[in-house]
Amino acid sequence: MKHLHLLCTLLFGVAVLLFFGLAYPHHLHYQEEYQLFLFDSTYVWEIVRLPGGVADLLGRFCTQFFLFAWVGALIIALLLSAVQLLTLRLASSWTSQTAEPSGEWFYGLSFVPSFLLWLFLLDENALLGGVWGVLLTQFAIWGCLQIPKGWKRYIAIFFAIVILYWMALGGSHYYRIPTTFPTMLYAAWLSAVIIPLLMLLVMRSKKRENAQQKHYSLTSHLIPLTSYILMSLIMGSLVWKNANFKAEKVMQYDFMACHQQWNRILETVNAEKPNNQIGVTVQNLALAMHGMLADHLFDYNQNGIAGLLPDVKEDATSPMPTAEAFYQLGMVYVAQRTVFEAQEAILDFQKSGRCYKRLAQTNLINGNYEVARKYLMALQKTLFYRDWANKTLTLLGNEEAIAKHPEYGRLRKSVYDNNFFFSDHVTPEMLEDLFFSNTDNRLAFEYLKAYYMLTGDREGYAKLLLHTSNKQ
């Protein structure tokens, strides 16, 4: 029987791993992008001093590994499997091992909290701290049940409640939007306690019967297995139905732009034309990076100038691909403002490794080395940005090295010569000034030409062609 349980849990864990690794990897990247875990005592203290802080901290710690989607998927798989095993263990502990709940019809119920947490994690605003909150609660209950009945257990329960409140129960940072009540998480939390209790009640009523039937039979395997399969089918289909694959696609485009995977972007759009704002923006940026934007503009889905350089909105996610385009074009100040504002718009007031990295880069290009140093010093306290930060720190103030750098050197040459005010809406003047002050800026040329084509500005288009033909 024990092997059967382990097999079922393993199968569940593998399903979770494959789901997040194959079908939902960019949701994990998204989570990682909108937090910044620092190995810093002040940072840690600021989190753990609050009720629920330990669960929150553990969640944030694990989320930093989501930079690598398969590692993130493995972490989630392990956590959800642990929740299931503990649900089963609690039921066993409560029944004082006089009966075997795992051999019953309701064995499948032990997977309910884990499936509910899986459903919870489908939402991009769900935070992993919530899963840790459930797990810590289960650990605390299990720990109390290990103490023999009597006053010692009551004292332990009292202290467990107090400690658990500080570690998990009192927490509010389990969902990115603080005013939204994460119903699915609390349903999972409740079920993680109620289901073992339910098992206990049923088992007590069957205590005598079970005691008499404590021998091996085929049904003792078939019954739990059937309940497991049924539960998996019902809950699995719910997971699949509630998964937001549309958002996953958008996040994929954003991820590819963030990591400058221009070839992969073109492969993706060639396989399936994007039908969302971010996808079109990223597609156009990748085309421009390959020098193909103007010539192949209408071979791909377009959304007017809103698909080229959309207006910057006041949220944390939609401006990021546009900011990438601003940055690559050489509109470094514009990119800096866009990224800064996006980071400020993160709903749970967290910082972002991606944003810090870009702000360090824009400040480095602008020659604001001390500001860049601040961001780099923070990134030095991370696990996965540390090497990059150390490397980039050596560039600060080193004009020669920056000039020779393939990205920073190019962008320094591409920035605006003339100063004027910019707004949230990109105007042709912004692109014209960028290109005509440095006609070697090929990307600006591509975007300007595309801008004229999309707006039907024949005069501007002719002027641009005349300029390039004169140059030749």
């Binding site: 100040y333 993160i346 500001v371 720190l393 100063n419 910019f422």
Partner: protein, 504 residues
């Protein structure tokens, strides 16, 4: 078993105590190479003059250049003590205050050794002069990311300047959770450095001004049909329950290549007087063609000083301010005030900055009325974003009714206070008039920090940075210290009490 554990615990505690003691009071290096220069410590506390009650001046050597730092402090009575842990020198508060007490009116000699590539270097010693005059015990500021338009969590905090204690006066957390109801908090202001009468603004959701009147908190809306906005930049009358405000229609614009990055300007601005007792608003000045800003009372309450723009050249009339912003310049004016009648006298031009192609903002008169501080820049009203922003100090005795200007005045020499090429702004006086405070972006050109400088009879000493328990905080903190204001006592109303006025 218990005895067994205890027998380990006590020596362990003793060892820890010994270790911490070693870390705090290390030996000076037995041999070192002399370097004939001052140590490159951060913050730069070399040869500064500090108040006799200031918190420990902890400092550090650059972590990317040095492995360790040891500093020996010698007070004028010959007492010596050494400090140093890693590259940081952090002095326990009690020991520091004992050193200050012993050196009041004298100096503390500081010798610094830095270990670089396993070799100890000994730098030229410097002195910390301890003034006899204390600084106001409290300072308040808004901590905020130097953002563009979007903002997130922010707080108004108060800091005890004799220690490192920092507490919150108010934060926007309560309503920030809902972006559509988000609050921006700003412009904290106190009457006569005391906190029983104070105010700050809250914008967007539940907008208004939170006013504390004799310790009682209320929220008021100062917008009237006849004003262009609610109160913005405030100044409490020193004795009466009156607050002068500018009303502003403020806008921001963003540069594509100008390193100032952001331009803050007013489409319109006027002056109003708010009566706290009667909740009435009266107009002080509302010239629709010109911009009035930053009112401040003279310490006796008999004059209201403010900045006022000069008319633009005719050819620029009617043009979009986004093209004319660099031509908008403010002069400094004042009007007499009769408390009995609440009437204002005629406008007097005090300082004509425009004649020198400059713009004046943020005037502050010293508590004894003898000196005038203001911020100056080439144009505009928001020098905290301008690299050329500097502080100017003029003896008021030079003003005899004839407008002062760059030609006919001899300003106090503030070269030891102003930075070179970075924004220095928001000047103010301590209540005893011996400490000038300013907000400066000199450390990194982006995050404003609080600097103090000793002032005595028109002589000013080198400015020094607000001390922190961990000197690295000023490098790592990604927040600006906004609108630093001296207080002689803390704000005693809690964040929760302030929050209650938003329930109504």
């Amino acid at each position: 078993m218990k005895r067994y554990i205890h027998s380990y615990f006590l020596p362990l505690a003793a060892a820890l105590l010994l270790l911490s003691s070693c870390a705090n009071h290390p030996d000076v290096p037995s041999s070192s190479k002399a370097v004939k220069s001052l140590p490159a410590i951060f913050p730069d506390y070399c040869n500064v003059t500090v108040p006799c009650n200031i918190a420990p001046l902890n400092f550090m050597l650059p972590a990317d250049e040095y492995e360790a730092c040891v500093a020996r402090f010698t007070t004028s009575d010959g007492q010596q003590q050494t400090y140093g842990h890693g590259v940081k020198v952090q002095i326990p508060e009690a020991e520091w205050h004992a050193m200050l007490d012993a050196s009041k009116g004298k100096s503390i000699k500081v010798e610094v050794w830095g270990q670089k590539e396993n070799e100890w270097l000994s730098f030229s010693p410097f002195e910390i002069h301890v003034a006899e005059e204390p600084i106001d015990e409290y300072l308040s500021y808004r901590l905020i990311e130097p953002s563009y338009v979007a903002w997130t969590y922010m707080e108004i905090a108060q800091r005890n300047l004799t220690s490192f204690e920092e507490t919150q006066i108010f934060n926007n957390e309560i309503t920030m959770n809902d972006r559509t109801k988000g609050q921006c908090i700003n412009c904290h202001s106190y009457q006569n450095y005391k906190t029983d009468n104070m105010l700050f603004h809250v914008r967007l959701s539940n907008a208004g001004t939170v006013i504390v009147n004799d310790g009682k908190v209320s929220r008021v809306n100062m917008k009237r049909d006849y004003t262009i906005s609610g109160g913005v930049y405030p100044s409490w009358h020193p004795t009466a329950k009156l607050v002068a405000f500018s009303t502003n229609m403020t806008r921001q614009a963003f540069h594509t290549s100008n390193p100032n990055k952001i331009e803050v300007y007013d489409l319109a601005s006027d002056l109003i007087l708010y009566d706290v007792e009667t909740d009435s608003v009266s107009i002080v000045s509302n010239d629709s063609t010109l911009l009035e800003i930053y009112p401040t009372w003279s310490p006796d309450g008999k004059y209201l000083y403010y900045g006022k723009s000069v008319p633009l050249p005719e050819e620029m009339d009617g043009q979009d301010i986004r093209t004319t912003y660099a031509k908008i310049q403010y002069n400094l004016y004042r009007r007499s005030f009769d408390l009995a009648t609440r009437g204002f006298g005629e406008e007097e031009l005090v300082y004509d900055a425009a004649s020198d192609d400059k713009s004046v903002t943020l005037p502050r008169i010293s508590p004894d009325g003898r000196y005038l501080l203001f911020a100056i820049g080439q144009y505009g009203c928001f020098h905290s974003r301008h690299h050329d922003g500097d502080i100017v100090c003029l003896p008021m005795a030079q003003y005899t009714g004839t407008p002062l200007n760059a030609e006919n005045t001899s300003p106090v020499d503030l070269t030891s206070v102003n930075s070179n090429g970075y924004s220095d702004s928001y000047p103010s006086w301590s209540s005893n008039g011996h400490w000038i405070m300013l907000a400066s972006r000199r450390d990194d050109d982006n995050y404003s920090r609080v600097y103090f400088a000793y002032f005595n009879n028109g002589k000013v000493e080198k400015a020094f940075l607000l001390p922190q328990e961990d000197p690295e905080l000023h490098i790592s903190l990604l927040k600006s210290y906004n609108r630093p204001e001296f207080m002689v006592e803390p704000v005693r109303i809690s964040v929760e009490e302030f929050s209650r006025v938003f329930d109504k």
